[in-house]
């Protein structure tokens, strides 16, 4: 199912210039039909996150996000995988504008980015929502106590449209947790709002604390307008 999905998205995007709206609708219909199976196969069966299915297709979002990160002056990207952000991870990994460091856990990403701040190197920590939920001590102890900015990119797991039942907890608690620690965040669900990345990154520097951008499934899987 995954290659079918990838090819459908690829074909739709390749034809984008010719008939953008029709192609987007066509890709969306295909994705809606196969998403549940593809995502189940990707996240539950394959052991290697880099080969998981959901983000196998190049939707072009990786390049758009990478361009926005580079525009901010971000050079270091520390990442942990989530199926939805694999396109971004693959893009920054091969893009010479970035130093990409795959890390062993989300706290390591926060540590790296916090240290990079003291080297005047712009940085971002890229992760899934579940990973973010492990970070509260690190963020509050390091970044709030010392007032060290850190910029986090994550997924809006558990929201409507996410078919994975194991992300229900993120749907229930991700946003309330962010609000409980007064951490500013922006949800981005369409490509035309990607400029909010720069705004949020800049705010982390002004605010001297963490900020986050949260990407929706629609944006990451190629159906955001």
């Amino acid at each position: 199912m995954v290659p079918v999905r990838a090819k459908a998205v690829e074909a739709a995007l390749a034809s984008k210039a010719a008939n953008e709206n029709i192609c987007r609708e066509a890709a969306s219909l295909v994705l809606d039909a196969i998403d549940p199976v593809a995502e189940f196969c990707g996240s539950e069966i394959n052991g290697d996150s880099r080969s998981r299915g959901m983000a196998e297709g190049d939707t072009g979002i990786g390049r758009l996000v990478a361009d926005e990160l580079a525009f901010c002056g971000i050079k270091l990207v520390a990442s942990l995988p989530d199926n939805w952000v694999m396109d971004i991870i693959r893009t920054v990994d091969t893009d010479e504008r970035f130093v990409h460091v795959p890390v062993n856990r989300e706290e390591a990403a926060v540590g790296l980015c916090s240290g990079a701040f003291f080297g005047a190197m712009g940085s971002a920590a890229l992760m899934g929502a579940s990973g973010f939920m492990t970070l509260i001590y690190a963020l509050t102890k390091i970044n709030y106590t010392y007032e060290i900015p850190v910029f986090i990119l994550m997924t809006l797991r558990g929201a409507g449209g996410d078919t994975q039942k194991h992300h229900i907890s993120n749907g229930l608690y991700l946003l309330p947790v962010l609000e409980s620690i007064n951490m500013p965040y922006q949800i981005i669900d369409k490509r035309s709002d990607l400029g909010l990345i720069s705004r949020s990154y800049r705010h982390s520097r002004t605010f001297s604390r963490p900020t986050a951008v949260i990407f929706s499934k629609e944006l990451l899987l190629g159906r955001g307008a």
Partner: protein, 202 residues
Amino acid sequence: MKYIDAFRALNRHRTDQIVIASAGHSCQAWWEASKDSTTTFYLGASMSMSTMFAAGLAVAQPKLKLWAFMGDGAFCMNPGTLMVERQMNLPNLMHILVSNRAYGGTLNADLPNSARNDYAAIARGMGIERVFTLNTIDEIETEFPAIAQPNVPAYTFVILEVEPLVEQFKSPAIDLEAVELKYRFGRHIEQITGANIFGFRL
């Protein structure tokens, strides 16, 4: 080897290294040994994040030389950090694992499997080649200068085997607020590198 004696010995061999002190007793002992409030960042209660913090600074400023302390209590919470450190393989980063076989910051509480943990073997198992264990002050005096020489080819992992810290110091903790530490340290980095840390504008 007494904990504080080991830190005093390391401080004698320090030249221009930037130090990141970690949770537990390393902040306390390094402050006692060095009284450094400018070129050391005291990352208190950071529970295994000190070396990644140091790695971030090391990758951003490759001309700086970084020493990062981490207690084995913090290490046992996140030994996988060595995988990332080996992957980055930053020659300007030295991870100094302070092995007192206890959770020093919490009254030297028991550490899991403490007698059998072989930190050097763990490091080598992750592909780290520059692994050194220092058991005595004499070893620090004779071996550490070569280990810490500039222009080493790769990342360095040093294990300090020490007794749990039991001494009471007159000034057990640095008397600076976290944000003051941030600015003192950051301004120093700005001064020696020319980097613009706090003047960020997009």
